[in-house]
Structure formats: structure tokens, C-alpha cells
């Protein structure tokens, strides 16, 4: 009886209706009848228009159901698992910010010891991958674990309130790299993580974007088929941190690719094996002007803004040159071709 009282008190404190988990119903609801694997379910607490939630959902659809996930600290961990609920429908472990690759390595070793084939995924944000969890990731790649590591790159520490990370693009404003009299946002450049990953000579490393879900899911499926370490970085806009309308998540991500600032490339054993050609290269200002974090760059009459715009344009042009991103005629899987839809779904992959 005393327990019951304490129970009621605690429930009151944590502010939630004392509801039992929903009972499985006899008939299949439309949600249960979806023709895809729902690895990351509704009811998670991501913000409106969250690019990371979308990216994780897309990855889980293509990777699941026979997978386990090790998740670093970050938005994804926080918004999917507010105790006592979980949005994950696969085994899922969170330990610390810096060790998801190490935890995943242990899970993989355990699976091996048990003689099971369940694939292990490791998830982290750009903070947990580019900065804090970097050495664990490098070790995981070097030890050649059979793990797909997915980095959801939203280009700052969004979970703690938009602090700069080594993935934050040059000149973006964050709470720790504010634009103002002294500086035009972040002074340093975005870390070229993919090249560092490629230097491990792993079987497969690629970048993808939520704006191109078919391409993203193809890359996940390809990585799932590889017995060895694979790495995927997914560009995932954050409406809150990038300061754009929640409806524009896909448009912003698409323009990042189309201007060349976020190149979609695939590397095997360290060599570039594929890129997504850009059919119509657009100026970086098309991308910048959608976002509040670059608002100081679009002010007229400020020579510093002009210089930083030109700098970002030069960085985009560099990517386009280095990876050869400019399209050579229409291609069904270039940035325009792959988005094309017809009645009944995307056209890419249909017989012509």
C-alpha cells in the first residue's frame, strides 16, 4: 500500500498519465500494415521537420529488421528514448557520448561469439563522430569490425543548444561562434571527415542526404551487404539550429547538394568510386539565403559578407572540381533525375 502511494507520487512528479503500455490488438491497424519496416516509430520527440529523425527512419527502413543499434549521446538518443518509452523497434544501447563505436565493437564481438549474424549499427551525430567519438570510431574501423557506422550530420551540437562542432560549416553562426562585429560566424572550416575515414582503407564510405532518400537507402543497402566496417554520413538539416522553416528541410538539404557544399560521393578502399552528378549547379547563395545561421552573409553592402559568400562559393567550386560533380548531360540518377516522380512513385530505377 505504501508502495502504491509512492508510485502515485512519482508518477505525479514525472508528469505523465499512469497508462499501461498499449495492448496489441487483434486486427492489424493501417500502421501495422505498412509495406516497410518501421524501425523508428512515431511518438518520438524530435522537433517539427527534423532532418535527423527522417534520416534515421530511412536508414532503419533499409537496414532492419535484423539489426542492433549502438547510439551515441545526442538529439537522436534523447528524442527517441525519453524514459520509459522507446521509439526503436530493434535492440538499442546507449552508453556515452564518445563511445558508440566502441560499444558497437563489443556488440559485434558478442554476436560473433554467439555465432549470430545480426548486423550492428552505430549511430552518432556530428559531435559524437567528428569530435568526441572520433578516436573510438577510428579504432573500430582499424579493428575491421563488421559494423555500419552512420553519422547524422546536422553541423553543430544541437542537443545542447547549437554549439559549433568541427562539422559546422565555415561562416555559420552558432551560440559559440556568433556572427557579430568581430567575426562572421565560425572562423574555421568544416572538417573533411570522409577523407580521414577513407584513409582507413575501409571497404565502403559514403555521404548521403535526406533530400535524396532513394540514394540514401541504396547506400545503406550496399553497406549492409559488406562484411566489414562501413561508414555513412547523412546531411540532416536542423530547422531549429539552422534557423529555417520546418517545411523547408528537404529543400535546404537538396540545395546544399546542388550548390556543391555537400558533395554526395562514395569511396571504396579509399578511392572515389561514384558521385552523384549535379545537373544544374546552383550558386551557394541559393542555399545560404534559406537559413538564419547564414543571415549575416546575405546582408547587402557589407564587404565582409561578400568575402565570406565568395569564400563559401570557392569551397563549393573546389568540391565540384575535386570530385567532378558537374553533370555531363542528363542522367537518370543525377540530382534532378533521381528526384523525378511519376504516377506510382519515383521514376529512377523503372524500366525506360
Amino acid at each position: 500500500m505504501q508502495d502504491q502511494a509512492r508510485l502515485a507520487e512519482l508518477r505525479q512528479k514525472f508528469g505523465r498519465e499512469p497508462a499501461a503500455p498499449s495492448e496489441p490488438t487483434a486486427e492489424r491497424t493501417p500502421r501495422e500494415a505498412q509495406p516497410r519496416f518501421r524501425g523508428l516509430e512515431s511518438g518520438h520527440r524530435a522537433c517539427q521537420g527534423c532532418g535527423e529523425a527522417l534520416a534515421a527512419r530511412l536508414v532503419m527502413e533499409s537496414a532492419g529488421p535484423d539489426v542492433m543499434v549502438a547510439n551515441a549521446t545526442g538529439c537522436l538518443e534523447v528524442f527517441t528514448t525519453p524514459w520509459p518509452q522507446s521509439a526503436w523497434r530493434v535492440p538499442w544501447i546507449h552508453s556515452l557520448f564518445e563511445n558508440s563505436a566502441a560499444v558497437a565493437s563489443g556488440m559485434e564481438a558478442a554476436m560473433k561469439a554467439k555465432g549470430q549474424n545480426t548486423k550492428v549499427l552505430a549511430f552518432g551525430g556530428d559531435g559524437g563522430t567528428y569530435d568526441i567519438g572520433f578516436q573510438a570510431l577510428s579504432g573500430m574501423l582499424e579493428r575491421y569490425h563488421n559494423i555500419l557506422y552512420v553519422c547524422y550530420d546536422n553541423e553543430a551540437y544541437m542537443n545542447t543548444g547549437i554549439q559549433r562542432s568541427s562539422s559546422t560549416p565555415h561562416a555559420a553562426t552558432t551560440t559559440t561562434s556568433p556572427a557579430g562585429k568581430e567575426r562572421m560566424g565560425k572562423r574555421h572550416l568544416k572538417k573533411d571527415l570522409l577523407s580521414i575515414i577513407a584513409a582507413h582503407h575501409i571497404p565502403y564510405a559514403a555521404s548521403a542526404s535526406v533530400a535524396y532518400p532513394q540514394d540514401l537507402q541504396r547506400k545503406v543497402r550496399y553497406a549492409m551487404g559488406i562484411d566489414g566496417p562501413t561508414f555513412l554520413v547523412v546531411h540532416s538539416p536542423c530547422p531549429l539550429g539552422w534557423r529555417h522553416a520546418s517545411a523547408l528541410t528537404i529543400e535546404v538539404a537538396r540545395k546544399a547538394v546542388e550548390c556543391g557544399l555537400f558533395p554526395l560521393v562514395e569511396l571504396e578502399r579509399g578511392a572515389v568510386t561514384n558521385i552523384m552528378p549535379i545537373r544544374q549547379v546552383r550558386p551557394v547563395t541559393d542555399y545560404l539565403k534559406l537559413q538564419g545561421r547564414f543571415a549575416h552573409l546575405t546582408r547587402d553592402g557589407d564587404p565582409r559578407a561578400q568575402e565570406e559568400r565568395d569564400h563559401l562559393q570557392a569551397l563549393a567550386d573546389y568540391n565540384i572540381n575535386v570530385f567532378g560533380l558537374a553533370g555531363d548531360g542528363d542522367d537518370p540518377v543525377d540530382t534532378s533525375g533521381i528526384t523525378t516522380v511519376g504516377r506510382g512513385g519515383p521514376l529512377a530505377g523503372r524500366p525506360q
Binding site: S42, H44, G337, G344, P346
Partner: protein, 563 residues
């Protein structure tokens, strides 16, 4: 004392127990089937988007059935219609409007060749009968829609053949007799339609008799009488009026001899006549019109009312067109014309807001001419209809053509129409109103859905592809009998269908389903009663608006939460 671990006071659960739907603050996504602009612009009331959707799925016969649910004469309209649908098409600013007109014609021809059955049932034996005056496109459409409404139709036609203006006023080079006859014969053979030829209103039947003997009377007499034309009181003794000249030519194959012809007017009849006279041997044929030619700055109100293709072909064939001008004076030798004085003119807004014609002093010039043909339009033959006419036409107040209880006007005779498609659309609307009247139901209302503008679409998801062009007989090889524009063909027609943007209607492209970060779009074919394949699970939708922004067709829109 019992120590409670955290796990003791809540069982692990799924996040599905947490309804994020209450995060929506202002707007929620809904499916809104807005009118495609082609549909909104179609005088015949076709929903082109709907039948293109069937073609995109590869169902050709179903597409034709969808098409003839509004317009029973697609092989005819697919040849003669000025296709305002294409002018309205949202694709026109991207890479050219869809060739809707050519695909419609192809579907009509396919139906004739394959003998596809019209989607109508024979009416019951005791079904009420509707009397229809005139077997032109409006009357035929009305008879067909009577069957669709479960009524019988009895048509009274003054001429010895059905077809009206389609037969008497449109040259074979535009509308050959074979498809026209085939389509009309098919329609008239439907059980429930009776046709009385050579039965003239006012001579063989009277309106009062028909009103007494039939459940409703639909008036589609067309415009048969030439309007009076003179220039400052002068009329040449050998005046030939446009439409009657055209009719004579279609009957006998001959024009009166003339070297310098001036045609005064600005419609399809005027252009048809110009081209036929030129082909018949007149050296110079000039069209003088008060309207403007199509151009980037042309005001739609000022644009010449001619099928754009026909205008291009006329210019190709060497017809001279003087736009924004009128015939100011006839220069006569005795009572024969030897020339005309032309003056520039424009329709200018007046203080009252209505357009008035202003001719400009100092722009007069004299042209040699041995024949002047007025093509300024026709009026309703008033025989038997006098009390219903308001001047030359009926001018009904209602879009359904209601003149008085159970009497409806259709087509050109209304006064505010002027196309075959308009007459066909009137037929459908008048029958809808008449059927409601007969059954004692409330009168029908117009479809007031909003139209989907091109700004409501997301162009990223559409591939560019050029418009298909049908084959054409070159100007030097054109005759009086061979159709000038050719068949687009099955391959091109089906490819053209793939270009349809599906404005305002679901493409089933899966974008919303794929891109929802909250898994709040549910895919289901059976349960989505709104015609799409998707449901919004508003228990979880946070209202981010991503699906609406990424919907290619504008079918998903964000509306205020309270709506």
C-alpha cells in the same frame, strides 16, 4: 523499507503511447483535390487530369470512358476545339503545354476503331422524355447526357442530317467526314435517343406542343441567320455573307470568282473562309479584324478568337491579316465593290467600364478589293422562339441555361458561347438541371473548388520533356479534302500523357510517405477514401509542413487547425 528502482514505477513502453499530434500549433495537412487548370478552363467540362491519369497507368479505354463522361464527341472536338485547356496548362511555362487536344483526338479515333461502348445504360421504358431542338454538338451532347441521367431524348432537327455546325460550318481539312459521321452515328444509335430529321421548330412542331408532351425542352438551335452588315449604309449588290458562303462551298465545292478578297471579322469561320478562298485561287486574301494577334503583351480580352494552330497555318499559307482595324468605307463602282478604306481601331476602356471601339483619325488607307465578305457572326433564327429571345440570342441568366421552368438554352444560341466544346458543356449542364427539375431535386450548383495555380506545385519532382507535335501537311500540298493535321499516334500520345503534372490531384508518388520525419503518413489503398493512397495520422503529425512542401501536385495543403 522497500526501495523502488526506477523500473518499478513505469513499465517500458513504446513511444506510440505518446501522441505528438498535440504539438501542432496552427496548421495541419489535408488532402485537397483542387481543380486542374485544364479542367477549370474546359468549356465542355472535361477533367483532362483525370483521363491523363488513366493513360499514365496505361488504361486507354478507361481514359476514353473518363473523357466521354463529359464529352461524347472527342474525335470531333479533338480536331476543332480552340483548346483553352492547353492555354491554361501549368506546364506551358516549363517546357510547353501538354498536347491535350491531339491526345483527345487520338482517344476519340481509338474508340471508333475499336468500337468501345459509351458508358451509358438504356433508360427505363417509363423514363421521362426530354425534347431537344437541334442535332448540333449541343443537342447531341444533351441527348447523350439524358441517357446518363436515366432519361430518354427526342431530337428535332430541321436539316436532313445531324451534326449542325460541325457538318455545315467546318471545312473537311479540319474535320473530315469519316470520324464525324462515325462518332455521330455511334451516339445516335444508343438506345433511348430518337431523332426526327427535317422537322423544323415553328413549322412542324411548336414549343407549346413540346412543353406539353415532354418532361423538359432543351433549345440548341444554333445561330442560323446572318447579322445585318453594311458600311455607312452601303451594301454591295453581290454581297456574300461568310457562313453562308462557307456552307455553299461545302455543298457545291465552288466559290464565286474573286482576285482580291477582303474578309471582315475575327473568328474561325473568317479564317477558314480566307484559307479556302486562297486555296481556291484568289491571289490576295486579307483578313481585317478588330482584335489583336497573339503576342507576349496581348490582353486576353483583345485576342482574336481563333484556334491558335489555325491562325499559324493561315499565316503559313499567305493570308494577310490586318489586326486592330475595321472597314471604314466601301469604294464602289455602281453597286459593285472595287476597294475598301481601312482604318486602325482599338477596343478602349470607357468611363462606364465597358470596352468601346475607337478608330484613329489619320490611319485610313485604301485597298483594292473585288469582294468583301462580312464574317461578323450570326443570330438565332427567331421562328417559334420569339418570346424567349432577348435580341439576337437567349442570354439566359443561369450557367445551366434555364429560360423558364423546364426550358433550357444550349450552345451558340445562348449568346455568350462560341465553341463546339461550349455547346457540349452546355448540353451536360442543361440536362443536369432538367433532370433535377423533373425529379423534383434541388437545382445543381457549379463546382466552386479552387484552381491549382502553378505556384502550388513543386517543380523539382518533374522531368523536363518536350511537347509532342503531330505531323502536318505542308502548305503547298494542302487540298480541300485532306485533313491538314495528322494523328499523333499511340506512342506519342502515351508519352505525352506522362508529361501531365497531375495538378491538384494525388500522383501516388510516395513523397509524403517517404519524407515524413514522424512516420505520420500511413500508406493504404483501401482506407484512403479521398482518392489518394495515404492517410495522415494526426495523433502523431507535428504539423511541420514538409509533406505539403514536397508534394509535387499541391494535393497536400496546410490548413488552420480549427478548419
Amino acid at each position: 523499507m522497500t526501495v523502488l528502482t526506477r523500473g518499478a514505477y513505469a513499465a517500458p513502453g513504446t513511444s506510440l503511447d505518446f501522441k505528438t499530434g498535440n504539438w501542432r500549433s496552427t496548421e495541419k495537412p489535408v488532402h485537397i483535390h483542387a481543380k486542374a487548370p485544364c479542367h477549370a478552363a474546359c468549356p465542355a467540362g472535361e477533367d483532362q487530369q483525370a483521363w491523363f491519369a488513366k493513360l499514365q497507368e496505361g488504361h486507354v479505354e478507361e481514359a476514353w470512358r473518363e473523357l466521354v463522361s463529359a464529352n461524347p464527341l472527342p474525335a470531333a472536338t479533338g480536331r476543332v476545339c480552340p483548346h483553352p485547356c492547353e492555354t491554361a496548362c501549368n506546364r506551358k511555362d516549363v517546357d510547353g503545354a501538354l498536347a491535350i487536344h491531339n491526345v483527345e483526338r487520338w482517344l476519340g479515333d481509338e474508340a471508333i476503331a475499336n468500337g468501345w461502348a459509351y458508358p451509358v445504360e438504356p433508360p427505363a421504358d417509363d423514363a421521362p422524355t426530354v425534347a431537344i431542338i437541334g442535332a448540333g454538338p449541343g443537342g447531341l451532347s444533351a441527348a447523350y447526357h439524358c441517357l446518363r441521367q436515366g432519361l430518354k431524348a427526342e431530337i428535332f432537327e430541321a436539316l436532313p442530317e445531324a451534326g449542325g455546325l460541325l457538318r455545315s460550318g467546318i471545312p473537311r481539312t479540319r474535320l473530315p467526314r469519316e470520324p464525324l459521321n462515325a462518332e455521330i452515328d455511334r451516339l445516335l444509335a444508343l438506345p433511348g435517343i430518337t431523332l426526327h430529321l427535317q422537322t423544323r421548330l415553328g413549322r412542324d412542331v411548336s414549343l407549346a406542343e413540346l412543353k406539353a408532351s415532354h418532361a423538359a425542352v432543351l433549345l440548341a438551335p444554333g445561330c442560323q441567320e446572318s447579322k445585318h452588315w453594311d458600311v455607312g449604309g452601303a451594301v454591295p449588290s453581290d454581297l456574300h455573307e461568310g457562313l453562308s458562303l462557307l456552307r455553299e462551298f461545302m455543298d457545291h465545292g465552288q466559290f464565286p470568282e474573286a482576285h482580291n478578297v477582303v474578309v471582315h471579322g475575327g473568328g474561325n469561320t473568317a479564317v477558314d473562309l480566307c484559307r479556302l478562298m486562297k486555296r481556291a485561287g484568289s491571289e490576295h486574301v486579307t483578313l481585317i479584324t478588330a482584335s489583336g494577334l497573339p503576342g507576349p503583351d496581348t490582353d486576353p480580352d483583345d485576342l482574336i478568337n481563333v484556334v491558335p494552330r489555325e491562325l499559324d497555318e493561315a499565316l503559313e499559307e499567305g493570308i494577310e491579316i490586318i489586326d486592330h482595324a475595321t472597314v471604314n468605307r466601301l469604294i464602289m463602282k455602281g453597286s459593285k465593290v472595287t476597294g475598301v478604306e481601312v482604318v486602325s481601331l482599338k477596343k478602349e476602356p470607357s468611363a462606364s467600364g465597358r470596352k468601346r471601339r475607337v478608330s484613329f483619325e489619320g490611319t485610313e488607307r485604301v485597298m483594292e478589293a473585288d469582294m468583301v465578305i462580312p464574317c461578323i457572326g450570326e443570330r438565332v433564327d427567331p421562328d417559334g422562339l420569339n418570346h424567349l429571345l432577348d435580341g439576337s440570342y437567349f442570354w439566359p441568366d443561369s450557367p445551366f441555361g434555364k429560360l423558364e421552368d423546364g426550358v433550357y438554352a444550349i450552345g451558340d444560341a445562348r449568346g455568350d458561347r462560341g465553341t463546339v466544346a461550349g455547346a457540349i458543356g452546355d448540353g451536360a449542364k442543361a440536362v443536369e438541371a432538367a433532370a433535377a427539375h423533373i425529379a423534383g431535386r434541388p437545382q445543381p450548383t457549379l463546382d466552386t473548388r479552387a484552381e491549382m495555380a502553378s505556384t502550388g506545385l513543386n517543380p523539382v519532382y518533374y522531368a523536363l520533356s518536350p511537347r509532342a507535335e503531330p505531323p502536318k501537311v505542308p502548305p503547298e500540298a494542302r487540298t480541300f479534302t485532306t485533313e491538314i493535321e495528322g494523328d499523333i499516334g499511340r506512342t506519342a500520345a502515351l508519352a505525352e500523357a506522362q508529361r501531365c503534372l497531375s495538378c491538384g490531384n494525388c500522383l501516388a508518388c510516395d513523397n509524403c510517405w517517404t519524407l515524413c520525419p514522424d512516420n505520420a503518413v500511413i500508406k493504404t489503398q483501401e482506407l484512403a477514401s479521398d482518392g489518394s493512397h495515404y492517410l495522415f495520422d494526426l495523433d502523431y503529425c507535428k504539423g511541420c509542413g514538409l509533406c505539403a512542401h514536397e508534394c509535387p501536385t499541391g494535393y497536400i495543403q496546410m490548413v488552420p487547425e480549427t478548419a
